[in-house]
Amino acid sequence: MLLLSGHCDQCGTCIAVCPADALMLTESLLSIDHQACTLCGLCVNICPIGALELKNEA
């Protein structure tokens, strides 16, 4: 599952590369559509501050 593991700066870089349109910024947070997310990991790699993480579901 894709998770915010650190402080998100809401810069939107992840949204620009997301091929599934699974990410969106609201007024003050990043929302993740887990149904749309394909776990491809592009956002994890592109995040300038390493705030996203892919985690195995417990």
């Binding site: 939107g12 992840c14 590369v17 007024e27 995040c47 300038p48 390493g50």
Partner: protein
């Protein structure tokens, strides 16, 4: 709250604000949505602009100018500085927050209705499948607003273009994750734009030091995933850079951003819909500059939208003209800049040093951008045509 408007602008950055300013001039009713709670902040920007270009778009308030620069200094991987001097580098480091705040106020004064804390969720389409409005989340509630023309100026994180079936998803190699610290208590020796080139500073990008007023500076960098080390993000490279060059500086502002470094979107319109600024990837892919492109595209989009409202039967012609104007103004140039970027960002630190040493032999009065690229071309002759084309556009 009025539901039907002539023009709805999504995004209150430079592209959106200038689009609104231009659109109200045509007599159109204009509604602008901004997701955040304050115009101009946070500042996700190095804040450097060309002086002549910037001043050509509006009356510039002196408060917006933090400092002036007139030199360009490239710092090589070996630490040597290559200074380039020419009046084409005359620029400002602006206070972008003040600039945007004031310009938004001017847009409101001219008649734009600005709505803050509004998250535009999706485009609305009518029975015929044409774009006719937006669904907006306003303090937790979903509302619908309608317009004859929509302008998407919603930045690099734009989702509206995709909803208009325009493919705007960026490839990893075409976006630079960037981080910037605004530091205080630093002494920058010259009024210059300092660019640190080489893998040792910022692989697949560059690091910058832009001096602001009161011994402050914007210190940032952008990298490219194609060239950076595995498991290292932009922030970790900046941490090293600050430790090395500004170990004692206090950080008063820290920001992350994504800068599109590609060519402009090929398609910038569809019926009732225009794209401006970062949302259309209108950034110089070589240096990452995009403020004045956003302004220019906003003005052109606002104009096209205003004309289309007056003469809907000619909308296609106005929108075609918009796309052509963008291409002529900078789109074409960005294609050459993109090819140059692809070349220089894969150069090794040794190559940068070697080219730099050659440039240093040239008399400072003759040491232009062109002289630098002549040296690059010497080692990569195939790129001569692209380099020439790029410089014809500067």
């Amino acid at each position: 709250m009025k539901r039907d408007w002539d023009i709805i602008v999504v995004g209150g950055g430079p592209a959106g604000i200038f689009a609104a300013l231009e659109a109200v001039k045509s007599g159109a009713s204009v509604l602008l949505f901004e997701r955040k709670r304050e115009m101009g902040v946070p500042v996700r920007c190095g804040e450097a602009v060309g002086k002549v270009d910037f001043c050509s778009y509006m009356d510039v308030d002196p408060r917006w100018i933090s400092s002036e620069v007139n030199t360009f200094i490239m710092v090589l991987p070996n630490g040597k500085e290559v200074k380039l001097k020419s009046n084409i580098y005359e620029g400002y480091i602006i206070n972008r927050d003040l600039f945007e705040y004031d310009m938004a106020a001017r847009a409101a004064e001219q008649g734009t209705c600005i709505r803050m804390r509004c998250n535009v969720r999706e485009l609305l389409k009518n029975a015929a499948g044409e774009i006719c409005g937006v669904k907006v989340e306003e303090r937790g509630e979903l509302q619908e607003y309608y317009a004859k023309v929509l302008i998407a100026a919603d930045g690099v994180e734009s989702r509206l273009a995709r909803q208009a079936e325009i493919d705007s998803v960026l490839k990893m190699k075409d976006i630079e994750p960037c981080v910037q610290a605004t530091v205080s208590g630093v002494d920058i020796p010259e009024k210059a734009l300092y660019l640190y080139v080489g893998t040792c500073y910022a692989p697949g990008g560059y690091a910058w030091v832009f001096p602001k007023a009161n011994r402050c500076a914007n210190v940032g960098l952008g990298i490219n995933g194609k060239y950076s080390e595995k498991n290292r993000n932009a922030e970790s490279y900046l941490r090293d850079f600050l430790k090395r060059f500004f170990p004692d500086a206090a950080v008063q502002r820290y920001i992350a951003a994504g800068v599109p470094v590609t060519t402009n979107l090929k398609v910038l319109s569809s019926p009732n819909f225009l794209i401006a600024g970062d949302a259309g990837h209108m950034v110089n892919p070589l240096n990452g500059g995009g403020i004045t492109h956003a302004i220019k595209s906003g003005i052109l989009a606002g104009k096209a939208a205003g004309e289309a409202c007056k003469k809907p039967e000619k909308m296609q012609a106005f929108f075609d003209h918009y796309e052509k104007s963008i291409y002529r103004n900078f789109g074409k140039n960005h294609e050459s800049q993109y090819r140059i970027k692809e070349l220089v960002y894969q150069m090794s630190d040794e190559e940068y040093n070697r080219i730099g040493e050659e440039v240093l032999k040239i008399d400072i009065r003759k040491r232009s951008f062109l002289a630098v690229f002549r040296q690059v071309v010497k080692q990569h002759p195939g790129f001569l045509a692209d380099v020439m084309r790029a410089f014809a556009g500067i």
